[in-house]
């Protein structure tokens, strides 16, 4: 089936080429350009001046603080989901995961509305807001890891030791690598974030890149500044992936650990969950709602931002469709690859997803802003779609690969033996089994694309805008209620698909 001219080889090769073009080439081109550019040597000094050392410290503190706090909050929640019998668990999980999908700058705006004090423009407050935005990653990882622990291992221990000791000595070491990997990814996502530090005026690398590019009109300096951030991101991501190897995505197991007698933790676990959901989601959304009451003219608001809203909806839908199509072929290739190749692809996907939006923005401008025919796309709305392809294809491929792994290769072999071609096998046998995964991926990519700011703010063509870019530009020169209304709209559009995902997962459970 892997012959040179087989449909499978052609499809996977085409997807691979597209992946390289959209996701890998811009970054590689930027790195090479920054090295060979005539001004590179002079701009290399920007890495070493005292301002950069300060930025480095701020960036490290932002990442480290967020990773620690998100782990401290997320891991107990995840372990509770995996080990304690709780009412309304799916609903609680969705509520607690929701902050991860709401754009971080919306969270930042909401917290600014909540606590209108000078303290908000500080590193600790940026850490707090990013913790609220990123703890779901630690939570979901810890839950998946705890569910992945073979129940017999805990059962064997529970014959000789009380629940607390079993959790400490058996469960914790087994989920430890996953928790550490998640903490490292949170670190990377925190140092990659642009919206929160920009909003709270905390100078870090991402804001400095934006300033160099958009305010100082110094692309060479901006490009040079991306390199340490890019290398740090890639390095940490690779370490985190190596910690969990090919166990990145584990299958759900039945609720293990019932025998551990954690029933008495039900009350505290529920309290922690409801408290976290209230602070992480309820409080910020309520703050935005209370600000929105001050909107003087909805007509004026919609007239000013209607086009940006429409652009965002359209472009996010186009981006989600292209990304999920490309990711389908990539996910298939990853799921059927040899173990070593699969691990390498996982690492590449995670690393590319973690690359900061501002870095991706600079890289896309470097590649597509050319005087030749290549530059035809530059200055058009297609740049937004290129941003979505570059940023979200790796994540989508990773999720779909997990879906493909549920379909045993023997099913394809059985179809092949029956005389079916590969395309027919995919269309009739394999892909139909993944239609829910595919739908979920589309919704996730749409949600992320709809909230994308870091790269979009750099590639936005003159006279065009998306909703996140519109919100970001209005922050400084529009009434607060107007900004809050747009931010709330942003959050609503994100939360609605989340409710749809909950519905899909609920249907799956019923089946």
């Amino acid at each position: 089936m892997w012959g040179w001219r087989s449909p499978r080889t052609i499809a996977v090769s085409a997807a691979g080429a597209a992946f390289v073009l959209f996701c890998v080439l811009p970054l590689a081109f930027m790195v090479v350009t920054s090295i060979i550019h005539p001004s590179a040597r002079s701009t290399l000094s920007v890495w070493l001046d005292s301002r950069q050392r300060g930025l480095l410290l701020n960036t490290a503190l932002l990442g480290g603080g967020t990773a620690l706090a998100a782990t401290a909050l997320g891991v107990p929640l995840g372990v509770a989901f995996a080990r304690v019998t709780l009412p309304f668990k799916p609903g609680l999980r969705i509520l607690l995961a929701a902050p991860a999908l709401i754009p971080s700058y919306v969270m930042g705006l909401a917290w600014l509305s909540l606590a209108q004090s000078p303290w908000m423009s500080s590193l600790p407050s940026a850490v707090t807001v990013l913790t609220v935005a990123l703890y779901p990653l630690s939570m979901l990882t810890a839950e998946a890891a705890a569910r992945g622990v073979e129940p017999r291992l805990e059962e064997g221990a529970s014959l000789v030791a009380p629940p607390g000791r079993v959790l400490r000595r058996i469960t914790a070491p087994l989920i430890g690598p996953h928790v550490l990997a998640a903490a490292l990814i949170v670190f990377v996502l925190a140092i990659s974030d642009f919206g929160v530090p920009a909003l709270l005026r905390v100078p870090v690398f991402t804001t400095e890149i934006f300033t160099a590019f958009a305010a100082l009109y110094d692309p060479a300096r901006a490009t040079t500044l991306t390199i340490p951030l890019l290398l740090l991101t890639l390095l940490i991501t690779l370490v985190s992936v190596s910690l969990i190897s090919d166990r990145m995505i584990v299958r759900r197991r039945r609720l293990a650990g019932r025998h551990l007698g954690l029933g008495r933790w039900r009350g505290p676990a529920l309290t922690l969950m409801i408290g976290t959901a209230s602070i992480g989601l309820g409080l910020p959304m309520t703050a935005l709602l209370s600000e929105v009451r001050g909107v003087s003219s909805w007509t004026e608001l919609l007239q000013g931002s209607g086009q940006a809203i429409l652009n965002s909806l359209t472009l996010a839908a186009v981006g989600a469709t292209l990304v999920s199509g490309l990711a389908l072929a990539l996910g298939y290739a990853r799921s059927r690859a040899r173990r070593s190749v699969a691990v390498a692809l996982d690492a590449l996907f995670v690393a590319l997803f973690a690359v900061p939006g501002t870095v991706v923005g600079v890289a896309l401008i470097e590649l597509w802003n050319q005087p030749t025919v290549v530059g035809a796309l530059y200055g058009t709305d297609a740049m937004f779609v290129l941003v979505y392809l570059a940023r979200f294809t790796p994540l989508a491929a990773l999720i779909l690969a997990a879906g493909f792994r549920r379909v045993p290769p023997s099913q394809e072999e059985a179809a092949a033996v029956s005389g079916a071609g590969w395309l027919a096998t995919m269309a009739v046998i394999v892909v139909p089994q993944l239609k829910r995964d595919w739908t979920v991926v589309w919704i996730i990519v749409f949600t992320l694309a709809f909230g994308e700011l870091g790269a979009s703010v750099l590639v936005t063509p003159p006279g065009e805008s998306t909703l996140p870019v519109r919100i970001y530009t209005l922050i400084a020169n529009a009434p607060r209620p107007h900004v809050a209304a747009l931010a709330l709209l942003q959050a609503t559009v994100v939360l609605a698909p989340l409710a749809l995902i909950a519905l899909i997962l609920g249907m799956r459970r019923e089946q």
């Binding site: 017999r152 059962e155 064997g156 529970s158 014959l159 000789v160 009380p162 070491p173 025998h259």
Partner: protein, 220 residues
């Protein structure tokens, strides 16, 4: 003296599936009993109920004259029942060495710290595990070595009841016979009270004093 183990009309359902229905069993001190029966008849569930890993829906379980479980649930938690269990898949803790696996069990007993090493070595020797393997991790051992370590781990806590859930099912015939012989010798030497789950009649006849045959359970 009451029997070491009593199961009185114990029932366990998983949803609409009757795993165990009104099952009774008595095991005397020093006796070894085999639970025989086809797959799905509830043999493993009986072991899990005795160990405290499942709760009965009806009936009572008594160990050494103490009621440990009834229809209301487990009265005595698993770790206080003094039961050792060798799982079918062994369930050796992969992040701990052989010594670490046994040390976790010994640390849960009242053994003085300076005696723990001696006790671990003794258990390994009894189960014919080469002490040079003590610092290896489970995945670095052969199937037979893993089997012996699992047995040593179950014995090092000096349980009053040792239970084995088809422990040799994944081994080739020669190794199975060798380990079975070692188990019989160990049982005699240590005067173990034992429940041995198998679906192999010949296997049971070699290892135990008495066999109890379970029937296939049905769904509601």
């Amino acid at each position: 003296m009451p029997p070491l183990l009593q199961l009185l009309q114990v029932t366990k359902n998983f949803g609409r599936h009757f795993a165990v229905q009104a099952f009774s069993l008595e095991v005397e001190h020093g006796e070894s009993v085999a639970l025989l029966g086809p797959s799905g008849c509830g043999k493993t569930t009986v072991l899990r109920l005795i160990a405290g890993l499942e709760e009965p829906d009806a009936g009572e379980i008594w160990i050494a004259g103490r009621r440990v479980a009834n229809a209301g649930g487990n009265v005595v938690p698993a770790y206080q029942r003094g039961v050792g269990l060798v799982f079918q898949d062994l369930a050796l803790w992969p992040h701990l060495t052989v010594r670490g696996n046994l040390a976790f069990v010994v640390a849960s007993t009242s053994t003085a710290k300076h005696q723990r090493t001696e006790r671990i070595d003794d258990a390994l020797r009894r189960c014919q595990v080469d002490l040079r393997l003590a610092d290896r991790y489970p995945h670095e051992l052969s199937g037979g070595e893993q089997q012996r370590v699992a047995l040593a781990r179950a014995l090092v806590g000096t349980p009053r009841l040792l239970m084995l859930d088809e422990p040799f099912s994944s081994l080739d015939h020669e190794l199975k016979v060798a380990l079975r012989t070692e188990l019989v010798a160990l049982r005699t030497q240590m005067q173990l009270t034992m429940i041995y789950v198998t679906h192999d009649q010949a296997d049971a006849e070699v290892v135990v004093d008495r066999t109890v045959t379970m029937r296939e359970q049905r769904s509601a």
